[in-house]
């Protein structure tokens, strides 16, 4: 790998990939995230039972070959519910990432490029940033109504200010780079400079923010489901499964612990992936 790196003409993104490959934790995390996404897409093919099939002959049975993670109080296979539940988790995590990412990055660019918009946009976002996460999310969901779409909107609103702030500061500093001035001297338009120079160079911190906030939004969504303001039963959402399992914690702990472990694995994987990406994208560590 070291030999390949010395060659001319390797793009910086390829170098990032090499660097990421050297970080075992990040690579394993990447594999876990990819597997989870595949699991969500192909859930009906993988899951041994439908997620809502009740079987009163096998209520709360211990893990066995038939039910690797056991069954819940209605005799539903926990493994199948975990597999189907990944669909909600992945959808919320990545949906929130894309929605808040697009809105936040756009607002950040506008604030950095047009001084007149800077204060209105940033102070407006500060209002959302100043309220602690749970009260803000609960208020937004209760105002808009309880459903998956509104849960996603509320989470996207909560994560937007972070993207906007990080983009704004990065764009502000990049605007003063000499290569941007060089491009102006060539006669480049604002749009050209933004697309060709500023965005590619601002991408590194934004990408890391993407992965970190995805893990965060998954946790927030699970927490909201746990307190009953997220996805409603009988959907196999992981947070909701913990909430339902907590009353059987002393007698039959599989119900609460297994979805909990699933959440932990996915958020840890996303965070380690983000850490690895951050290191790989840092040119000071690269050369």
């Amino acid at each position: 790998m070291a030999k390949q790196r010395k060659e001319y003409g390797k793009s910086q993104w390829l170098m990032v990939w090499y660097k990421l490959c050297e970080n075992k934790f990040a690579l394993i995390s990447l594999a876990i995230v990819v597997l989870m996404i595949l699991m969500a897409i192909f859930a009906p093919l993988i899951a041994p039972y439908p997620y809502d099939e009740q079987n009163y002959d096998a209520v709360m049975v211990d893990p066995s070959l038939e039910h690797p993670f056991g069954t819940d109080q209605f005799g539903r296979d926990i493994l199948s519910r975990i597999i189907y539940g990944s669909r909600y988790t992945i959808f919320i995590g990545f949906g929130c990432m894309i929605a808040s990412g697009i809105v936040g990055v756009t607002l950040g660019i506008l604030a950095a490029y047009y001084p007149k918009l800077d204060n209105p946009i940033m102070r407006f976002l500060d209002v959302f940033g100043s309220i602690p996460d749970m009260p803000l999310l609960m208020c937004l969901i209760l105002i808009m109504g309880l459903n998956l779409r509104n849960l996603l909107i509320a989470l996207a609103i909560y994560y937007t200010p972070g993207y906007a702030r990080i983009t704004r500061s990065k764009v502000l500093s990049l605007r003063n780079e000499e290569y941007v001035e060089a491009s102006i001297a060539l006669g480049a338009s604002d749009r050209h400079i933004l697309i060709r120079h500023i965005l590619p160079n601002a991408m590194a911190p934004i990408i890391v923010r993407f992965t970190l906030s995805t893990g965060g939004s998954i946790l927030e969504a699970a927490a909201l489901s746990f307190i009953g303001l997220g996805i409603q039963a009988p959907a196999p959402e992981w947070g909701l499964m913990i909430s339902q399992g907590k009353q059987f914690l002393s007698s039959y702990w599989y119900m609460a612990i297994i979805p909990g472990v699933a959440i932990i694995i996915l958020t840890y994987a996303l965070n380690y992936m983000g850490d690895g990406l951050r290191d790989a994208l840092d040119p000071r560590l690269n050369h």
Binding site: K10, E181, G187
Partner: protein, 321 residues
């Protein structure tokens, strides 16, 4: 005089800072003939780079007139400026920070063509880029490499390639070699001189290195704190200097044959502040010859000898003219 490429009159560039108005460039005038080089020298912070950038409209001028190729370009619309960029280019000092780290050599040199939509197809762009790479001495195997993989000299060749691909007639060279090793400096300077001869380019060559400027310039303008203190033909300036500041500058050039009798003129003190300067000679606080008048009134440029202009009240006295 005909054949003048660029004529600047009373150019001023002031910056508003929290502690007052900073006079970066104050009443600077000069003419450059087609195909020649004007060397602008002065110590750090004397407004050389600001002058170059103001001429190119990278910074808006506070007042003054810029006539380019017989056309007044002091006030131009956005569209006119866009067209003008093809004619006037800049080579930056630091080839490390003036090149986008995420673009390959080919992309970097092709960028001006894309901005001005001067090529119709990808093949045409490629062909032109490789022609320019050949001219500036970049091997074509480097086309897909990135700036961080190249040394300073090669990076500066990219900067020169970006400047000349639009076929400009006038280039501001903002200390293009000061960030490079001495051995590479010579290569880059030779490249720039070859380009000048082939393409009849006109340069403003900004530098603090007097040996470099002697090598490349036809005329030299010495600046001190935003003002011109002396300007004349390059060869003449190295023979006889009339302004006390220029004398000090020339005497500070390291010599290849040290002469024990050679006395260097050492200037005392620091640069005075360019913020709200008084109407006086800017050099007076550090000048060995300063008299009362120097502190009361700013000297104007006067023609001491044909083609040799000096801004000093006591120039005749000091030099016995």
């Amino acid at each position: 005089m005909e054949n003048i490429m660029l004529s600047v009159k009373d150019l001023k560039k002031y910056f508003n800072t929290s502690s007052g108005t900073l006079h970066a460039v104050d009443n600077v005038s000069f003419d450059i003939q087609k195909g020649t080089t004007l060397g602008v020298v002065g110590e750090s912070g004397c407004g050389k780079s600001t002058l170059g950038r103001t001429v190119l409209h990278l910074l808006p001028a506070t007042s003054g007139q810029i006539v380019f190729n017989g056309r007044d370009i002091s006030k131009v619309s956005k569209r006119e400026l866009h067209e003008l960029r093809k004619e006037m280019q800049i080579i930056f000092q630091d080839p490390f920070s003036s090149i986008d780290p995420r673009m390959s050599v080919e992309q970097l040199i092709a960028e001006p063509l894309q901005i001005h939509k001067l090529a119709r197809s990808k093949d045409e762009i490629r062909k032109k880029v490789h022609e320019v790479m050949d001219i500036v001495g970049l091997a074509s195997r480097l086309a897909n490499s990135y700036a961080h993989e190249l040394d300073g000299g090669r990076r500066q060749r990219i900067g020169i390639g970006r400047a000349i691909i639009l076929n400009p007639s006038f280039i501001v060279c903002d200390e293009p070699v000061s960030a490079l090793d001495v051995s590479i400096q010579a290569q880059i300077l030779n490249l720039m001189q070859d380009l000048q001869q082939e393409r009849q380019l006109t340069y403003i060559f900004i530098t603090h290195n007097l040996s470099v400027v002697k090598h490349i310039s036809k005329d030299i303008m010495v600046m001190y704190l935003g003002c011109t203190v002396e300007t004349c033909d390059a060869k003449e300036l190295f023979k006889k200097q009339y302004h006390p500041y220029t004398k000090a500058l020339i005497s500070a050039i390291p010599r290849t044959n040290p002469d024990p009798n050679h006395k260097r003129i050492l200037l005392k003190g620091e640069l005075t502040s360019p913020i709200d300067p008084p109407d006086a000679c800017r050099f007076a606080p550090r000048c060995n010859y300063a008299c009362e008048e120097c502190h009361r009134r700013a000297p104007a440029l006067e023609e001491v000898e044909p083609g040799h202009f000096v801004a000093c009240h006591r120039v005749r006295e000091i030099n016995g003219l």
